[in-house]
């Protein structure tokens, strides 16, 4: 493999890692920006999406199963997220620390439930044949460059989801309401926007995206009761680095984190590369506490 091909491969890996982080962090960024709640059970929504993919593939085997699994996981995780918001989060909305503890408790309950239902060992989702190959370049200066089809697929999904959310926020009436509540909740309410309903919808949307993230995770590894735990911390990093509640910020932060981890791992252990990443985020926040993109919002200024 040539040096160029290797470096280009790492650029691709950077995008690939970033695409996972975008999917994992997007929902968190949305609800955190709007409601200032830290949902510790967000990782379990990923897990839920993974298990829903596993179940869907039992009902719909064959090449299109994974495509069917996306909306199933989106709706399934969205409903559970909506229930969580309705039953726990909005009742504790004025007590952020209590929300933190309560959602952590929910996360433990969901993990144990998954362990009881599916067992402590992970379940397997087998990628369909059309994803089971590698795009290899066998001639020219880029000889030896391998791009796994699953990774390309995940990049596409992340792009579609990002585009969809951006359109929703910018072009629809619901998006307008979300932006209004985000900027100034009391005034938006005074204008007749049902901010309570907006919270619920945005929260369910965010957990639904986490469900989709769970489906794509299933293509890369096993789905275990604790699979969400390995993504929740990077997702929080992305949200903080990106600037709370900003879509562009979340995307840029995911790319930064994806590239740092892909390139640090060329020279370092995966473990040490994570340390480098965390040190970078700490330093960055020292210099720019508001994150990559600063969001002007009454909610965040209080």
């Amino acid at each position: 493999m040539s040096e160029t091909a290797f470096l280009l491969g790492q650029v691709f890996n950077g995008f690939s890692v970033a695409s996972l982080f975008v999917l994992a962090a997007l929902g968190l960024a949305l609800s955190f920006g709007l409601m200032r709640v830290i949902n510790m059970a967000h990782g379990e929504m990923l897990m839920l999406g993974g298990y829903l993919a596993y179940l869907t593939l039992h009902v719909v085997p064959g090449p299109l199963g994974i495509i069917v699994a996306m909306p199933v996981a989106f709706i399934g995780a969205g409903i559970i997220g909506g229930l969580l918001e309705w039953s726990v989060i909005h009742r504790l909305s004025s007590r952020p620390l209590d929300t933190l503890l309560a959602t952590w408790g929910v996360s433990l309950i969901l993990q144990q439930a998954a362990r009881n239902v599916f067992g402590a060992i992970g379940v397997e989702v087998v990628a369909p044949d059309w994803l089971n190959h590698t795009v290899s370049i066998s001639g020219g200066p880029l000889v030896g460059l391998n791009l796994p089809a699953t990774r390309i697929f995940i990049l596409l999904i992340a792009g579609v989801v990002l585009g969809g959310i951006a359109l929703l926020l910018k072009k629809t009436r619901l998006g307008l309401f979300v932006r209004a509540v985000n900027q100034d909740r009391p005034i938006a309410s005074a204008m007749g926007i049902d901010s309570r309903r907006i919270d619920l919808v945005v929260f369910a949307l965010g957990t639904g995206i986490a469900g989709i993230a769970g489906v794509v995770l299933a293509l890369l590894g096993p789905i275990t009761p604790t699979v969400g735990q390995s993504y929740i911390v990077p997702a929080f990093l992305v949200v903080i680095l990106g600037g709370l509640g900003s879509l562009t910020g979340t995307t840029v932060a995911s790319l930064i984190i994806g590239f740092i981890s892909a390139f640090a791992q060329i020279f370092l252990d995966v473990s040490v590369a994570q340390v480098v990443l965390l040190v970078f985020v700490i330093l960055f926040i020292q210099v720019r506490p508001q994150g990559v993109i600063a969001v002007r919002s009454r909610a965040l200024e209080e």
Binding site: Q10, L220, S261, A262
Partner: protein, 397 residues
């Protein structure tokens, strides 16, 4: 759960009645301390089952020194601190004469001071990183020179010269690789790279890119648990299936292969001192008895058989010592000499570790391992690798 607790009560009642019946011939208590809950339960519950099977078989054939063996079960809960606490409870309150248990090195390290303090004896059945030598522990699992180094000799004999090491980031892979690295360079082979991923890590894109670039002949894999599935899956997606790039793993046995899906891992190699498919009447009898009790498709693996063998070695040692006293038992245990077992011929050496044979198995699509290599005769255990710890020895007897 209701049924479980019911059957538990029933078992307790039956146990009490048995104890009452056997009262005239006496009973002796032993501790069985494994994780029955938490992340390690998945591996340790089957191990405990194997230990209990051995106790049941011993009782069925008249017990030890005429006394019925009563196992006192405790849950280590996958937490080293709980292991230490429960070990204390077993020794102080239940007055057990010895304890069978432990899995992770962390649990063993936590229990060690307890067994030293009360001068009791622990039978530890899992392969580990060596570098420890206590008179209060019988180490039946492989030392590094009985698992990792045989794997290296095998790879060398196969003509593999370029190695890549990958492992989870904790004590066992780090120490095992420290030893392997010394031996790789000492034998004039090439080490291309070494990578550690946090426990439970799932992203291997950069590691795989480095592997593709350095083109090793073989990967030596000490990843633990589910990380293996991610690693094998992403390797396959990058076109590196086990038939194109051989992989030697140290933490994948029959139950793991079954759980992770044998089709994904088929063709990869692993090094143990036991495989379910090992020939011999002793192994056939063990597998039959285990599956008769715990289900026809219950897999058995290396640590389970070591746990099973430990109980019988303890029985023989007690009978030789004619006493349950730990000092006399451990002295007798190393004097027993070679005995037949499901593992083949084994005996405890003077350093209280097991002399045993090394095997390399290749995973078949049905989830069983085909034995492709075995060491010439048994291998004497070396707690301290001579290349890494020159001059350090383990003298206990």
């Amino acid at each position: 759960m209701v049924f479980r607790s019911l059957s538990f009560v029933a078992a307790l009642l039956a146990g009490t009645m048995l104890a009452a019946v056997a009262a005239n011939s006496g009973t002796v208590k032993v501790g069985v301390l494994q994780s029955l809950s938490g992340t390690m339960a998945i591996s340790e519950v089957p191990l405990e089952n194997a230990e209990l099977l051995a106790i049941q078989q011993i009782n069925a054939s008249g017990g030890v020194l005429g006394e019925t063996v009563v196992p006192v079960e405790e849950d280590g809960a996958s937490d080293p601190a709980v292991f230490a606490q429960k070990a204390t409870k077993l020794i102080e309150e239940d007055k057990v004469v010895t304890v069978f248990g432990g899995w992770t090195s962390a649990s063993r390290k936590a229990m060690l001071p307890v067994f030293q303090k009360f001068n009791n004896l622990l039978w530890y059945p899992v392969q580990f990183e060596g570098n420890e030598c206590s008179p209060n522990i019988m180490y039946s699992g492989a030392q590094p020179n009985q698992q990792a180094l045989p794997a290296l000799s095998w790879a060398e004999q196969r003509g593999y010269k370029r190695f890549y090491l990958i492992g989870s980031d904790y004590v066992y892979p780090r120490t095992a690789n420290l030893i392997l690295k010394k031996h790789i360079t000492h034998s004039g082979l090439t080490l291309l790279g070494e990578d550690y991923v946090p426990l439970g890590g799932t992203d291997f894109s950069a590691v795989i890119a480095k592997i593709q670039q350095s083109k090793p002949d073989i990967i030596i894999n000490t990843l633990n648990g589910d990380s293996n599935v991610s690693f094998f899956k992403q390797l396959a997606a990058a076109g590196l299936t086990p038939d194109k790039l051989p992989i030697m793993s140290f933490s994948i046995a029959e139950p793991e292969a079954k759980a992770m899906g044998p089709s994904l891992l088929a063709g990869s190699y692993t090094s143990w001192n036991y495989f379910e498919k090992l020939p011999g009447a002793d192994n056939a009898a063990f597998v039959e008895a285990f599956q008769a009790k715990y289900g026809a498709d219950a897999p058995v693996d290396d640590p389970m058989v070591h746990g099973y063998v430990d109980v019988f070695e303890w029985k023989k040692a007690v009978e030789r010592a004619k006493s349950f006293d730990q000092q006399k038992v451990r002295e007798a245990a190393v004097e027993l000499g070679f005995r037949r077992s499901p593992l083949g011929l084994v005996k405890f050496a003077d350093n209280q570790s097991l002399v045993q044979t090394g095997y390399i198995g290749q995973l078949q699509p049905d989830g069983q391992f085909k034995i492709v290599w075995h060491s010439t005769g048994t291998i004497d255990p070396q707690p301290y690798d001579p290349l890494n710890f020159p001059g350090k020895t383990c003298k206990l007897h």
